[in-house]
């Protein structure tokens, strides 16, 4: 018996965020004494396969599948689960993990915990409900267990030396009632939102999509990713995958700067674990100030350019 964890592949490379799932698998391994294996499904490059073999897994299983669909990946995961006698399947709670893991759970007859934040023991886990307002301790009663993990609650696994065995399997079949058509990617030169050390997020206070450029300079200086409230994404001012919150992405950077964001509970759910939170809002009563470490009551159109200028000088001095 064993634990199986999925590493996501993007453009042939391992997606760093999914290394959180490996950390969770290691914790379950410690608690249960079971070994863990890694699943690589998709189009991993040879280099990615080599790399995956350095995380202390017993075996890295590779199944090449041309395009992602939950249905085809489920077939691959099920194959690996059978091959490795896996009792646990653990994936990151990313868009892919959320789409795929329940489908795997239904196939395996497993109970599933969504976006867990803590491993209590081999069958008990903690997760958030009600937009982060409640922590639930859940027990999964089935023999097989499926979990997705909240990325901000588990460190990204470091390489642990040694080399895992690598085993390639042929896909056992395909599901033909669904076809991948295309992926339109949001192009950005900035760090990925969920992995950035600093995030600058904009809210409706920015008033017009033209004004988003006023945070660009600030993000440049801080090497930050840009995030957004739902109001901004709804208005079409920024693409959907910028949304931070209950129903968007969860982030926990070293520094989170909320610009013109009121701090609705659904937004706070996605950023309240950030190390330091700064809020710039002209309304002293805005709820964002209840979670901010440093609050500045000011007009963002004045404060942000001034902050940008002054940080620029400071950075030049310290360089």
């Amino acid at each position: 018996m064993s634990i199986l964890t999925l590493l996501e592949i993007k453009d042939g490379q391992i997606k760093k965020g999914s290394l959180s799932a490996v950390t969770c698998a290691r914790q379950i391994a410690e608690k249960t004494g079971l070994p863990y294996n890694i699943a690589l499904v998709g189009n991993p490059s040879d280099q990615a396969i080599d790399e995956a073999a350095e995380f202390g897994a017993k075996t890295v299983y590779v199944v090449k599948v041309p395009n992602y669909t939950a249905e085809n990946y489920k077939i691959a995961v099920e194959q690996i689960v059978n091959e490795s006698s896996a009792k646990y399947f653990v994936a990151l709670g990313s868009a892919m993990g959320k789409d795929l893991a329940p489908r795997v759970a239904a196939k395996l007859g497993a109970g599933m915990g969504s976006e867990i934040i803590e491993v209590v023991d081999g069958e008990t886990f903690k997760r958030l409900m009600y937009a982060g307002n409640i922590i639930a301790t859940i027990k999964i009663k089935t023999e097989k267990k499926v979990l997705t993990v909240r990325g901000t609650a588990f460190e990204k696994a470091q390489k642990s030396g040694g080399k895992s065995d690598v085993k390639s399997l042929q896909p056992a079949g395909t599901f033909d009632k669904k076809r991948f058509v295309k992926l339109e990617e949001t192009k950005s030169t900035r760090p990925e939102l969920t992995e950035a050390q600093v995030v600058v997020s904009v809210g409706r206070g920015i008033k017009d999509p033209e004004n988003i450029k006023i945070v660009d300079g600030l993000a440049d200086i801080l090497g930050a990713a840009i995030g957004a409230s739902r109001a901004v994404v709804d208005a079409g001012w920024l693409p959907n995958d910028y949304q931070v919150g209950q129903t968007g992405k969860t982030v926990a950077p070293q520094l989170y700067i909320a610009v013109g964001i009121s701090g609705a509970i659904q937004h706070v759910a996605g950023m309240k674990d950030s190390k330091v939170i700064v809020a710039i809002n002209k309304d002293p009563e805005a709820p964002i100030f209840q979670v901010a470490d440093i609050g500045l009551v000011a007009d963002l159109f004045q404060a942000v350019p001034e902050l940008t200028e002054k940080l620029k000088k400071l950075k030049e001095q310290s360089a």
């Binding site: 868009a95 959320k98 982060g132 639930a136 301790t137 470490d293 440093i294």
Partner: protein, 250 residues
């Protein structure tokens, strides 16, 4: 085309959530209940598809008698009829919910199921995907655009890094994301008409679904609250504080 829309009765997303003093559950005394916001979007999408392609929109809710209120709201928006699976207050996990839906879908034989991606109480995001697997139907989750033509749906999905387009053969399961549409309000004539629309109540026991939970909630707690910090008077003080807290990357 027959479209089935499962809706869950949940708290209003803007209400304040508190635990009962003994921690046994959520204190519902001051809470307003609504259709789960994602499911309201599903109802709207189903109505638009019916307006375009004809057919019928059937609402399904699994819960207590109180969920009749949410089914009536969906009927007032324009859905044709409703089904309540009365659980008589039993606690069900996501897996049981999905398997109850399998039963109803077996009887109703819809061409399409449109539902929410996530119920905002449990925040599980599981039922649509579980249901798809149990039915062996294709799933198109997190939809922000749906086009139907010739027994196929082309769906734009919100994924990490952008938008993905997939094509699924019907019958299929579609789960909604927030940007799919803006739900309509029920009109006064709609509300009047809804009172006459058929609403069938099925007792959970009659369905013969095994509801032994795969997942049980053992304990609920309130997370430690993040304390409000300080307010600074200007940008200079903000920078000084950032330096002091070593929050700057340089």
């Amino acid at each position: 085309m027959k479209i089935l829309v499962p809706i869950k009765r949940t708290h209003d997303p803007y209400s304040k959530i508190k635990l009962k003093p003994d921690g046994s559950g959520i204190d519902t005394s001051n809470i307003k209940f609504v259709i789960n916001p994602f499911d309201e979007i599903a109802v709207e999408e189903a109505l638009r598809k019916k307006e375009k392609h004809g057919g019928e929109v059937v609402i399904l809710s699994i819960g207590t008698q109180e969920a009749v209120e949410q089914i009536r709201t969906a009927l007032a928006m324009g859905a044709d009829r409703g089904i309540l699976v009365d659980t008589a207050g039993k606690t069900l996990d996501q897996d049981s919910i999905a398997r109850i839906m399998v039963k109803i879908i077996g009887e109703e034989k819809p061409d399409l199921v449109i539902m929410g991606k996530q119920a905002i109480d449990d925040d599980s995001n599981q039922v649509g995907q579980l249901l798809s697997e149990y039915l062996n139907w294709p799933q198109a989750t997190f939809a922000s655009k749906v086009d139907i033509q010739d027994k196929k749906a082309t769906v734009v999905r919100e994924v990490d890094g952008g938008l993905e387009t997939v094509e699924v053969d019907l019958p299929a399961i579609i789960t909604t994301d927030l940007r799919l549409n803006q739900p309509r309000y029920a009109s006064l004539p709609g509300i009047m008409k809804a009172k006459q629309k058929p609403l069938k109540v099925v007792k959970l026991d009659e369905l013969g679904v095994d509801i032994t939970p795969k997942v049980v909630v053992e304990k609920l707690e309130t997370p430690p609250e993040r304390k409000a910090g300080i307010k600074v008077k200007d940008v200079d003080e903000l920078i000084a504080k950032l330096k002091e807290m070593k929050a700057l990357p340089f």
